[in-house]
Point group: none
Chain length 217, copies 4
DNA sequence: CATGAATGAGAGTTCATTCAT
DNA sequence: AATGAATGAACTCTCATTCAT
């Protein structure tokens, strides 16, 4: 996936990183996949260290607890998507097209590596909501980032006269993310794209409804 | 909650049930709450038996495994909502109003007992998706039931000339449920109604868009 | 097996027995099979009561503990063989032929119902030897009975001038039983008759060596 | 027991073993005694770890299940005897004397440490025969080894003109082992040497009957 | 006597974490 | 730092036995 620039850079920088940073990243990447697949409770430190080919001591040398690994993994997973989205949308000019590109990005990667086990935010959310308050804050923070990035995009669109001025950017962002996650949820349980597809068509309609009507131009 | 008729009846019949059925229901109700709050892996048999005020043996006398308790609890949780919705919507005549009533029902009960820990389907979904295939089938079954009940409602609306004939009932049902769950997810993490509210307004718009336009009447 | 007179009689008397005796016998017969197959520790009270089609209360009404059931079962199993042997040997005149008949009886029933799980004495012996002293006494008692019955047979043979006078009846009985059990043990592990067959041929030789030589007659 | 060379060597090497191997051997030795005394079902992992002075985790760090400990223990117990027998018989020249030495070895160690709880093969056999197929295979394997080692000894005796050529080595081995085990069984239940002694005298007779008659020399 | 719900100690096993080397 | 043996609490589940009905 050559467009995942952040992570391409990671790999380029990999050899310049200190050994300990490299090991830490290695652990995080391995753990990220496991946590996304099997959840927090379902993933054991042993699973991680076997997968990473490390000893107990090495793992605990880099992270002081399972929670810390989980948090690093969560952010890794989220950044994986964010960076992929960023590199895809930054070459697009129009705000509405950027938003549509996000929807299409998900359609494209649905049920496929490295997202075959679904959205990390979604996966972390329910297990974490009432159970692990420390991790929950990180989930909230990530959604906040996503939400405000969508909202900024809408505001920019409004300034550029591409989006109706009375559109509430924040409300739109909530709807956008909520519908996305709802669609991902159903697709993940059924392992069937059609659920996300239904939601995607609704999302595209929603995005297009933001546009300043042609006749007004 | 006097409107939860199915469960009101349960309580009325409670004293006529055989002792073992009563205990089993008692365990299920206690477990249902715990599983919804803490997830499958996060809830231990000890948690359940302490909450139910029972001994190990009693618990295993009624259920042969944790999985069996989880499945019974899941269905209990789902039925709790289904019956509440049913008794609310059955006094409503118009199809579109029934659909709206569903949205309003969720708005009303959001973050409150006995739904304070969110939608059981949502909660079970992610933990279960790639981890506990047996339970996953029950989750799928429940969503199927819900989805087809929404779809049937739309078909009926079409027959009754309340809903546009070209509306695809199935696709609508997927969108409806997906948006609902998406909104519930965000509200559950943030413990803030505004996320569901944003989605609710979109849902109401979506429902109203089904209506045969006034001018066509 | 019409020659199992003791047990044929049991069945004839069955209808004249008091209900409680009948139930007790029923339990014993069912348990006897299970204990012989799965051992003392390997057989649960639940196994027994399911097999006998009874309730907890019924079982504990007739036996006050698992140990008591095990002891009754052990004696049932042993009597099953003893009576079968008795009815077979009592029609035989010569002492040596009686002893040979015992060997042939085992050859005939080896690995077959109701002895498919081996000799109850053998099965009980090792599990019980250093672990359940109360049961061990019953095992010893049963071997004593068998041993003295073999010894009596030899003494009788001596009186009837069929067996050499200097043969030590007790020592012979120990050898006879030891070789028998040794052969049964190997056959039971390998599920292969050849191990008992080897021992049987040795046993027949041993028995024949007791005979007063023809030329001395 | 200075003649148990294999195990003497074990103790000499003990300090050069890796820590984990040392602990594993330590557990095995402790468990071996318990399993031989109380059987598989009768010995709990707690019994073992208490006896070994270790924690749960240490035990499961070295063996992944109770079955694995049982198998290691069984082989330890068997090797204990095999090595002792080997070092005793290898200094003996004549085949028949080697066989007799085996009988005398058992007579000597009967009911005494470390064989006070009887023959491991015998002890494992009955519990395992119809209940734990995985362990049963190990028991069969051990008897096979023993049997073929006896048979080889007989064949060698035949080649060296010490044993009658028409003796069937395999059949002899079965008889030899069967009689041995039969004698051990009775002695173990009664805790009385006389049962094995009776069998031992028969065994010695059997062994001597293999010899090429003096007059034929 | 019979029922079967309930008890609770104890089974085998897992796992996050610590710590001597 | 890295190793991996060791810890011990917690987990799911079993079972002989008791006792209210």
């Amino acid at each position: 996936m050559t467009h995942l620039t952040y992570f391409s850079l990671l790999h380029i920088f990999f050899k310049y990183m200190k050994k300990s940073e490299r090991t830490k990243l290695h652990i995080t990447m391995k753990a990220a996949r496991l946590f996304n697949k099997k959840g927090y409770a379902g993933t054991s430190m042993d699973d991680i260290l076997k997968d990473a080919g490390l000893s107990k001591g090495a793992l605990y040398g880099h992270f002081k607890s399972k929670e810390e690994v989980a948090i690093a993994s969560f952010h890794y997973n989220v950044n994986l998507i964010i960076e992929a989205l960023r590199s895809r949308t930054k070459v697009i000019d129009k705000s509405l097209d950027k938003l549509k590109a996000v929807v299409y990005f998900y359609k494209e990667h649905l049920l496929q590596e490295p997202f075959e086990f679904g959205c990390p935010i979604l996966n972390a959310s329910t297990e974490v909501a009432d159970q692990y308050p420390a991790i929950r804050e990180h989930v909230k923070y990530s959604i906040d980032r996503w939400r405000s990035s969508v909202a900024r995009l809408v505001e920019k669109g409004k300034r550029r006269k591409e989006i109706k001025p009375k559109v509430n950017a924040d409300t739109f962002a909530m709807k956008f993310i909520g519908m996305m996650e709802g669609g991902l949820l159903l697709t993940q349980i059924y392992k069937d794209r059609k659920y996300f597809d239904a939601m995607a068509s609704e999302l595209i309609t929603l995005v297009e409804s933001l546009a300043i009507a042609e006749e007004n131009l």
